[in-house]
């Protein structure tokens, strides 16, 4: 019964390194390298600010990922509530001390970087709920009193992020929380109730939406409504991707991004840029890389013996999938433009940090797959 503990205690550093998921590791590294090329292209084929900064961040956070993965899974289990609370405090901090840029207050200024706590909250909420559902038994999951805490833990940060306003991130945070609850066994009917409540509150919520957010939703429904205004991004993104064709226009030859037709090409529309230059073949390569990462994360979940590990890995894999799907759906004109970065590829420190933290914890689950968390 205590045998696993003894196995764990006998694990040497070498054992730890050897039990890492190398396919996952390589995929992340490959994606990082691809993202550097993409960033180099957004800088107009020069080794410029965005490229340097992106490489530096990827280097630092990849290292962080490796270090995090060596931490015992028990450590993450024990600190998850603490992390959640810490992230929540940071979110509150944004509300009072945050930096405002293009009409929304999302960032906290640390000397070395501007941190976006809402990105970290994506991981924090998953960790917190994974621990919560690990602790309660399957029978208790659907009791009303045990539903209370998860709902509060989910709604509170989401509301804070919505108020920034940052619709995209808040939806992604909420979806992460919903995923954990679903996996833990919360009954379908509760999701149904929540949906009904959400839909009935939507008209009220719309009244609180900023005009630009309203116009984005309307624009998604009909991009030609205002081709020079809100619909511009979707139309130009589709033109860029479509004009890439089968093999693309070639590295550094994406006219749409070069001539500034493509908006936000460093961040949300990085996939568009890559797709324009490398065509269908390149897009497919990226899609496959992401699929591999997601499948490896699910695989870790399958191997992990603790409920915490399983819940975390599956949820994170799903959340990761959602980030990718929302971003691609957005740039391909399948979803409204909500402002969701593409994991690892997009420029942005906080997003990179959060994703690497998430991946690190998953890798830790892999190394300590047989170790009980408590």
């Amino acid at each position: 019964m205590f045998q696993p503990r003894s196995i764990q205690s006998t694990m040497t550093f070498r054992d730890k390194i050897l039990s890492m998921d190398y396919i996952l590791l390589l995929s992340i590294l490959l994606l990082g390298i691809v993202s550097m090329f993409a960033m180099y292209s957004t800088d107009g084929g020069k080794f410029d600010y965005h490229t340097k900064s992106h490489i530096l961040r990827f280097g630092i956070f990849f290292l962080m990922f490796l270090i995090i993965s060596l931490f015992q899974i028990r450590f993450w289990y024990q600190t998850s509530s603490l992390l959640y609370i810490a992230f929540f405090i940071l979110l509150l901090g944004v509300k009072y001390f945050g930096l405002t840029s293009s009409g929304s207050q999302r960032w906290l200024n640390f000397y070395f970087m501007n941190l976006q706590p809402s990105e970290l909250m994506k991981i924090g909420l998953i960790l917190f709920l994974a621990k919560y559902y690990h602790r309660i038994s399957t029978q208790d999951v659907n009791k009303i009193k045990f539903l209370f805490l998860p709902v509060v833990a989910l709604v509170a940060p989401v509301l804070l992020v919505v108020a920034q306003p940052d619709l995209g991130t808040s939806i992604l945070i909420a979806l992460g929380g919903v995923t954990v609850s679903w996996l833990a066994g919360v009954r379908v009917k509760f999701f149904a109730y929540a949906s009904i409540l959400f839909i009935s509150l939507t008209p009220i919520a719309i009244a609180f939406l900023k005009p630009y957010q309203k116009s984005r939703i309307l624009t998604f429904l009909n991009p030609d409504r205002d081709p020079l205004g809100a619909g511009y991004q979707i139309i130009q993104s589709k033109i860029a991707i479509g004009s890439g064709g089968l093999f693309g226009k070639g590295f550094l030859n994406g006219s749409q991004s070069y001539l500034d037709y493509l908006p936000e090409k460093h961040t949300d529309f990085i996939f568009t840029l890559f797709s324009e230059e490398f065509g269908f073949v390149g897009s497919l390569f990226i899609l496959i890389l992401y699929s591999v990462i997601i499948l490896r994360l699910i695989n870790i979940g399958d191997m992990t013996r603790s409920s915490f590990g399983k819940l975390y890995c599956y949820s994170f894999a799903t959340a990761f999938f959602i980030y990718v799907a929302v971003n691609m759906g957005m740039v391909l004109g399948l979803l409204p433009i909500v402002g969701a970065p593409l994991p690892i590829m997009s420029y942005g420190g906080s997003s990179m940090m959060a994703i690497m933290l998430g991946l690190g914890i998953a890798m830790s689950c892999r190394i300590y797959k047989d170790t009980p968390v408590n």
Binding site: S137, T138, G185, F280, L287, R305, G333
Partner: protein, 643 residues
Amino acid sequence: MINFGSGNTVIKSKLISRRMFVLTAAKTIVFCGIFGRLVSLQINEATKYKTLSDKNRFREWKLAPQRGVIRDYFDKEIASNEKVYQLHITPENSPNLETLFFRLKTILNLSDKRIFYLKKKIAKQKPWEPIIVSDNLTWSEFSRINLFLHELPGVEPLVSVARQYPDQSTAHLVGYVSQVSQKDLQNKQYLKDMSVGIAVGKTGLENKLDKDIIGKVGFQRYEVNAFGKRIKQIQIDPGETGKNYRTTIDLDVQKFTSEVLEDKAASVCVMDIYNGDIITMVSSPSYDPNSFVHGIDKKYWNELITNDKKPLNNKAIAGLYPPGSTIKIIVALSALENGIWNPKKYLNCTGVTELYGEKFHCWKKKGHGPMNLRSAIQRSCDVYFYEVARLLGVDRLSETAKKFGLGKKVLEGFIEERAGVVPSTAWKRKFIGKNWYLGETLHSGIGQGYFQSTPLQLCLMTAQIANGGFEIKPRVLVNDSKNNLREYIKFKNENPNEPLPIDMLVSNFDLNPLFRNQENINFVKDAMFAATNEAGGTSFRSRYNDQKFMFAGKTGSSQIKRFTELQRELEIKQKDIDYKDRDHALFVAFAPYKDPKYAISVVVEHGGTGSGSAAPIAKKVIKKVLERDQMREQVQNLTGEEI
């Protein structure tokens, strides 16, 4: 708390895995959707999006083509291109338009109204589209701009070309160019692709040849970024200069004629009787066609349209005048051709004849005495022709007149040309709705009444009589087609005794004879000779005794206002009545008489009598034309060799 590996954990594990399976299935479906979308965008619709991407990327700027040059027969330019200095502004390159206009105002003397107009125009168009501030700067303005250029961001001084007309004498024939109007855009489809600011032909040859002379528009293709800024030039097509044209006009004769006419309201046409080449076609007074090129000055425009002598009107093809006595050659010809009159027949002119109680006067109050057809033409006896016309009838007269070129447009493509009127019984019924009176036939017989013709028509009529009665097609543009008529004349001179039946003329020389019996034509030519070269002839005073310049002509004067009995009684002279009421003076002739080459028509509005004011003009012009005949012949031979 919960033991590792306990039953509960196993149940939980299974639950999680089961629910995860559902999620994984959902993920697969979503990724398949994204995959499908990629296929649709990048493979199925790639062509469409590539086109859209290129549409984003490239923007074209049109380059105005240079207009073709129009030259005279001796390759002198009569419509050319000159260098002009222009000033353009590209609004996006100027940080502050207000200060820029303020500076320009002091440098160029721009009016506030013009500045207001320019600002309005800038507001309407894209910031990268240049706007023309001035299209014709003087050299001093242009150099001042260049001096201050470093203080004037956004300003582009440039050298361009614009139409220039070196001589005013050709103004009516060549016409002029000016800014494109809404109407031009509707009528001329090819203007749709042209660049803004291009000049379009409005009248005369400029209008007739506009489509080919305007040239092909060029373009510069630039790669532009999302803000419309030009990144690099991709392609340049300089376009094509318009086609050049050589006309049949002799600029020297044209200038000379224009000087002879001084400022009279008059018109002169000279035509080669064998190939229809128009040597000169002057309408007087003239105007400055250059004033239209850059937008006409209001004062000058008012001056032009209020002038009684109508300088803008091309009198040679758009001025309608009763042919007066010049029609008598057609009346005589028609009577002979129809066999209704014996030319030897004598009539006694007493100065007046009567028909159904109405009096018809001869221009000579005392009468000419006994007249036959030849002397009636020589002295232009009206009474004699009243009788000829009465027997001939207006319908036979109109048939002959039409055959010789009256009553229809002579040139092709001149919008200002008018057809005139050759009256007939059918014409009167159709256009006036009344029956023909015999009295009107008498008036028609001396070219009065409903008759209306242009000077060019009269010239063509004379030319076709002078060349022996063959149809020719008048032309303004040089055309090196075979000249059958000249070949025929040559053949005839070499074989003077060989008879040539009409059907042989048609088959061998592809000619269209306008006569039934050429002797009749010769009779008329001889009578015209008498009118100029025999004592008593109406134009005897304007004759040349030198064989080289000797010509044969017929005078005419067309009444504007009928003489009252009182005026007739008082023998009022033309010069004594109001200018506006004076008769038009006409003269038609061909020269040289021995071997005719050219036909001429002269019309002087309110000139009084043909012999007094039209024939002397013709005399001078004929000399000038004949002096240059040798030179013209040489050029013709030269061009012939080139082919």
